[in-house]
Amino acid sequence: MIEVQDLDVRFGAVHAVRGVSFAIAAGESFGLVGESGSGKSTVLRALAGLIPGWTGAMSLQGRALGPKRDRTFFRSVQMVFQDPYGSLHPRQTVDRILAEPLAIHGLDGAEARIRRALEEVSLSPIVRFRYPHQLSGGQRQRVAIARALIADPSVLLLDEPTSALDVSVQAEVLNLLADLRAARQLTCILVSHNLAVVAHLCERLAVMQQGKVVEALDVAALRAGQAQHPHTRDLIALSRDLDG
């Protein structure tokens, strides 16, 4: 479904991503883990077409992705951002935010679709005409998820979708994502610094450090303590240490 080959991204003098490669099958959920500055979000944004000037090769369903993405790409790939406070337009109501992708793609039945989308992310219809600042963090992230899904994409990119949320809300959002994934057969890429979150949602993951993938393994192996790379082991240790 998605293939990334030798991806390199530079911002001026900063070499943010160095030769990252991975491949994801349709319906699979893949995690990217690393500390801040490891380049994991950059990989995701390059894949989403939000960053110009990368080198390497990326393809979606066998079709190579160029620097510019067309509308069909955005029909099939959508993203949920880390900060629900920053990813919703501060001057638009939920209604308007959800209507925008429908208008862009010329989809009809906007009214029904918006209502269904809100229902799908378990948001009460009363939030529909509210502004983002009138919503809680969890509600906002649900709106962001509803927006991502309203035009029925097949790939969902998740950039730290829960790290700005309280743990109790995190649980709700993670459950929601798991449900939606199952219901819609979504292919997901999840970027997170939290190993437990990645392990919860993904089957396979790659660990990044300083722009490189240092290790790729499946979750079962991770849970079984079969990680090889010292950085991965460090992360696991800390995760257990603090959670334990």
Partner: protein, 277 residues
């Protein structure tokens, strides 16, 4: 222990909103000595407000009621001068993100030296030496370089060490650490918390660790107070946390995904309106 270090009795704090005052803290009572107390709660639970109320650092619009005592001193009645003598000298405050909580245009050393010099009499040289030694104590390997560095030149972990050094400079009796590590990477987080833990223990100070992260707090504190919607719902010794009784505390502990135990669905916290009563 004759006098408790901190005595908070029925603290209430309201902030003005567009439609009248909105309560942030609703009757918190708390006593602590020279111990390590964790205050845990989700965003908006009033934990930070409680900490800042103790130092009278809330914005002037805030309405504060109830009694706050530090080492027997009535915080609400203290003169501004007396408050200044308390702040820094006897109570230190470590804030969340050194990127914002350090003055961006003063060198790290100057900020530490200033904290020292404000409460101690001494020459500029003495202040500088004291700052150097403090940087050394927070385990900075190259104090000279860090002394002359500006905050933006320091990593998050370094910045937080500077912050701690600064707050320890006048040797306070109590350190309030308000989410001291939530802006940091996990690897650094642990180092900083261990550092705080060690310094506080060595000096026999009190520590009030304010955090949203219940497991983390419980590892470093003796006692944990769990706050929900402006009040304390449960106070419990850290080692007894697994036996917490309040459904909120229990919910917080359960709802996290775990690396060692995969779960198909995460238990979701069901908020009970009765908790507010």
């Amino acid at each position: 222990m004759t006098n408790p270090l901190v005595e908070i009795n029925d603290l209430r704090v309201d902030f003005p909103g567009p439609n009248g005052f909105v309560p942030a803290v609703r009757g918190v009572s708390l006593t602590m000595g020279r111990e390590k107390l964790g205050i845990v709660g989700e965003s908006g639970s009033g934990k930070s407000v409680t900490g800042r109320a103790l130092m009278r650092l809330l914005p002037p619009q805030a309405r504060v009621a109830g009694s706050l005592r530090f080492d027997g001193i009535d915080i609400a009645a203290a003169t501004p001068r007396a408050m200044r003598a308390l702040r820094g000298a006897r109570i230190g405050l470590v804030l969340q993100d050194p990127k914002f909580s350090l003055n961006p245009i003063m060198t790290a050393g100057a900020q530490i030296a200033e904290a020292w010099a404000t409460h101690r009499r001494g020459s500029a040289k003495e202040a500088r030496d004291a700052a150097m030694s403090l940087l050394d104590q927070v385990l900075i390997r190259d104090p000279r370089r860090v002394y002359d560095a500006y905050p933006h030149e320091l990593s998050g972990g370094m910045g937080q060490r500077v912050m701690i050094a600064m707050m320890l400079a006048p040797q306070p009796d109590l350190l309030i650490a308000d989410e001291p590590t939530s802006a940091l990477d996990a690897t650094v987080q642990a180092e900083i918390l261990r550092l705080i833990d060690r310094l506080v223990t060595d000096r026999g100070m009190g520590l009030m660790l304010i955090s949203h992260d219940l497991p983390l707090v419980s590892r470093f504190c003796d006692r944990v107070a769990v706050m929900y919607a402006g009040r304390i719902v449960e106070e419990i010794a850290a080692r007894d946390l697994h036996a917490a009784t309040h459904p909120y505390t229990r919910g917080l502990l359960d709802c996290m995904p775990r690396l060692d135990a995969p779960r198909a669905r995460l238990p979701v916290l069901a908020r009970d309106p009765r908790w507010l009563a």
